[in-house]
Amino acid sequence: MTQKRFILFVVLSLVLLLFVYIKKEGAKKEYLVQKVELLAFEKEAKELAVLKNKYKDKKTTARLISSLKRIKAPSKDFTKQDIRVLEFEKLDIRALNQLIKKIQNATFVITKLEIIRESDTDAKLRVEIKK
């Protein structure tokens, strides 16, 4: 192979290798970035799905409201626009604690919660739940 042809071969090979190498490295970098982003996205998607199920599941909300009503029958139970209002009166300490515990662990959306002392032994609880 002549000097000129060999130099041409070397130069062309280097150019070609450099081109493919740059393309490969670009794709690699892009892949690694996308992979990290996908892992973060997967984690975030799972969290969003959990939150979505937690706050937008109407069946669960209805089931939890029923469980509150089983502790003590509400003195008032009505719906105002898309808000369900439950009012429990003359609650003794035991019933009040049970209701508070249930509400704290429930996954429905509370728009307002009020606890009012009625007497030395009784309290009133009013909870507004988004439907």
Binding site: Q3, I7, V20, Y21, A27, A45, Q104, L113, E114
Partner: protein
């Protein structure tokens, strides 16, 4: 691998009597005995036109072989050289053996065009310029006083180098070249395979992202996704703060005669009203609550302490 950039070739006039070269690097000037030359007048003016006619000029006058033609112009006529690459290759391989290498091959016709008279090339032959045709003739026919070595000394070669394909100046042997080419090919292939793999994996990541969205029943566009994310995050924070507030108020350490009168928690504000024994208790209770909550305001009115905290 030999030196690539340095040119240190020696000029050698090659005739059938030239001794075999075993080492060194040479620019070879071919004796007229290795080619045919004619000076003709043609009805064309360009070199390319003359080259097209070259084969017909020599028709019937050349031995069997695969001939190539080179054309140059002198005055209004053309000088046409006919040469057989294979036979020249054979001569070159015969005369240059072992470590001897050939950098370039030239015709005496082109290199001695400016020869005046004649010059001796060996004991029996001379080179003469007859009407711009360089011929090799028996020495007895000439009165040469100068030897070829005189002309080759400091000879500047023309640009009319011929290529034979396989016996030119080899910077690397064919075996070495195959080795280098194979290495380049392997490297190139590995880069291409990596590139394709990464590109394909990237496409897979896109598919996986779509699968995650479908599996979790989320919106497709990032704008919708961000919107739902903001909404859910806000809901989560609000709900957590309402529950934390009720839990925090219910855990307050109150003294005998003290009690919580009212708790109100919503996304807008959290209020607790406590009946306390005296005003000094205001700071104690506020201090206690400030460990968990950010207190917005507090009012003490007739043993009733009203504290607002940020939601």
């Amino acid at each position: 691998m030999t030196k690539i950039f340095k040119s240190d070739s020696k000029i050698l006039y090659l005739s059938s009597k030239t001794s075999i070269q075993k080492s060194g690097k040479f620019d070879v000037i071919l004796s007229p005995q290795f080619y045919w030359v004619k000076r003709v007048s043609l009805p064309v003016s360009s070199l390319s036109g003359a080259k097209r006619l070259a084969q017909s000029i020599y028709e019937g006058s050349l031995p069997e072989g695969d001939f190539s033609y080179e054309v140059s112009k002198v005055d209004d006529e053309f000088i046409i050289i006919a040469y057989d690459k294979n036979s020249i290759s054979s001569i070159i391989s015969e005369k240059f053996t072992q470590d001897a290498k050939v950098s370039g091959i030239y015709f005496a016709q082109n290199e001695f065009l400016d020869l005046q008279g004649c010059c001796g090339i060996d004991e029996t032959n001379s080179l003469v310029n007859i009407n711009s045709l360089i011929m090799q003739v028996p020495r007895v026919c000439t009165e040469s006083k100068k030897e070829i070595s005189f002309f080759l000394e400091n000879k500047k070669l023309s640009k009319n180098k011929i290529t034979l394909g396989s016996f030119e100046d080899s910077v690397i042997s064919l075996k070495e070249f195959y080795f280098v080419a194979a290495a380049v090919f392997i490297l190139f292939s590995s880069f291409v395979i990596d590139w394709v793999n990464y590109s394909s994996s990237l496409a897979n990541l896109e598919d996986k992202r779509t699968q995650i969205i479908t599996k979790n029943d989320l919106p497709q566009t990032s704008m919708q996704l961000n919107s739902i994310k903001d909404s859910l995050t806000k809901t989560y924070k609000t709900q957590k703060s309402i529950r934390d507030a009720v839990f925090g108020f219910s855990k307050l350490n109150l003294k005998k005669g003290e009690y919580i009168e009212h708790i109100s928690a919503s996304s807008k504000e959290m209020i607790v009203v406590i009946k306390v024994n005296d005003k000094n208790r205001e700071n104690e209770i506020k201090q206690r609550l400030s460990k968990t909550f950010k207190i917005k305001s507090s009012i003490f009115n007739e043993k009733h302490l009203t504290i607002k905290i940020a939601s």
